[in-house]
């Protein structure tokens, strides 16, 4: 037997009882379920686990698998694909794949399956979910982007083929983290006249070297000289659009926040740009610069450690 060993995947012995197979499945399924685990390979591990469980829980399939595992397959290897195929589109929310215990909840969802597949051959396509990384500039200006994604097409017998789709997506102005873009009918195609699923894109704003977004508000850390804080100054600040003039009032403090109204991400109620003043120490370049510091030291009664009660 080449490739993947189902017993190994499930961490059980070859002579494991059906009871311990079930227990092992439940334990590992809770660990690797893509809705529960944040591991990157959780989905892959869960698919393997499902494929293994699908075979080992079934007496006939297990006997067949055991035989092939010991003696090798008569014309090629065990075709694990036939068992994995149905699970391959795991994250795309297919309501048609009901299986498992016959309890109350199952009977609720199970009806969907019969209505979807049992009485007629047509079946709706699944929704497809992806994350879409968007820069702050793209959100500020709005943008169009050609994206490619994988969809799964099924023929009448349910065999799945993966297909790369390309689509031009308009990224509306002012999108923020966590919003979803829904493209109706752009998900997986339906089977025999079933409706196609939808494509959902979850917006994920990319980190920006200067700006930090919180909903529609943007924060910028602005380095300032000590005298700009004390004396006041009008300075240029970058925004997501054109640079703007900002008046630093006299006697400002480091850490103080100034607001440029409406300069955040656009929307029904546009966000603001918050400018946080951050004092930056000048480095004396020569002796006369140094003397300025000497003079400050002599003249100013300043103890920066006053609040921690030391000199």
């Amino acid at each position: 037997m080449s490739e993947i060993d189902y017993y190994q995947i499930m961490g059980i012995d070859e002579d494991a009882s059906i009871d311990s197979i079930k227990k092992a499945y439940r334990r590992l399924a809770r660990k690797y379920h893509p809705d529960v685990s944040k591991d990157e390979d959780a989905e892959e591990k869960f698919k393997q686990l499902s494929a293994a469980y699908d075979v080992l829980k079934n007496k006939e399939k297990r006997a067949e698998y055991d035989h092939i595992r010991k003696h090798g397959a008569p014309g090629g290897s065990w075709d694990g694909a036939q068992n994995r195929g149905d699970q391959s589109n795991y994250h795309h929310g297919n309501f048609e794949n009901a299986q498992g215990a016959n309890d109350f909840f199952e009977s609720i969802f199970g009806r969907q399956r019969r209505e979807g597949a049992g009485y007629s051959y047509s079946m709706d396509g699944d929704d497809v979910h992806y994350r879409l990384a968007v820069t702050l500039e793209e959100s500020y200006q709005g943008s169009r982007r050609l994206i490619s994604f994988e969809s799964v097409e099924r023929d009448n017998s349910g065999v799945a083929t993966k297909k790369v789709q390309k689509i031009n997506v308009t990224i509306p102005k002012g999108v923020i983290n966590g919003q979803q873009l829904r493209l109706k009918g752009k998900g997986n195609p339906g089977i025999s006249g079933g409706r196609p699923g939808d494509l959902f894109l979850e917006i994920e704003l990319e980190a920006h070297p200067l700006f930090h977004a919180d909903q529609r508000d943007i924060t910028l850390i602005l380095p300032v000289a000590p005298w700009e804080l004390v004396l006041g100054e009008s300075v240029d600040v970058p925004t997501l659009g054109d640079p703007k003039k900002l008046k630093i009032p006299p006697n400002s403090k480091s850490g103080q926040k100034l607001r440029l109204k409406g300069e955040g991400l656009p929307g029904k109620s546009p966000g603001d740009l918050y400018v946080v003043l951050q004092v930056t120490m000048p480095h004396p370049a020569n002796e006369s610069d140094r003397q300025l510091f000497e003079q400050m030291k002599r003249q100013m009664a300043f103890n920066p450690r006053e609040h921690i009660r030391v000199k």
């Binding site: 809705d35 529960v36 969802f109 966590g178 979803q180």
Partner: protein
């Protein structure tokens, strides 16, 4: 929420988006009776008093799909599913909050 006709003009879905009972069933591809049962069992939350005036947030679409997957794969009963989806959503929120605070901290450092 308007349904957009143009092929690449997406609907924007956010926290303020609400779906009517019919829209919700359509979006989840669920029979109305099933949705009513799941609301009664507390797996999903409907705003409003009766199905005719119910509205649903997009979060409930996600919750319903997740509930379905968890039930299918982990062989949970209905209260187990209801508890799991609630806890998982809370973990998601805490993770987001943590990520937000961490990145905030980095900008200030």
């Amino acid at each position: 929420m308007e349904i957009s006709q143009s092929s690449d003009r997406p609907d924007i879905i956010d926290q303020s988006t609400r779906y009517s009972f019919n829209q919700f069933c359509e979006l989840c591809r669920m029979e109305p009776e099933v949705v009513i049962l799941l609301v009664e069992e507390g797996v999903i939350i409907a705003e409003g008093r009766q199905p005719a005036t119910w509205t649903f947030s997009f979060q409930m679409v996600k919750r319903l799909k997740r509930a379905y997957r968890l039930q299918r794969d982990l062989e949970l009963n209905i209260s187990g599913v209801a508890l799991s989806v609630e806890l998982l959503e809370e973990i998601d929120q805490l993770r987001d909050e943590l990520a937000r605070l961490r990145s905030r901290l980095e900008t200030l450092a």
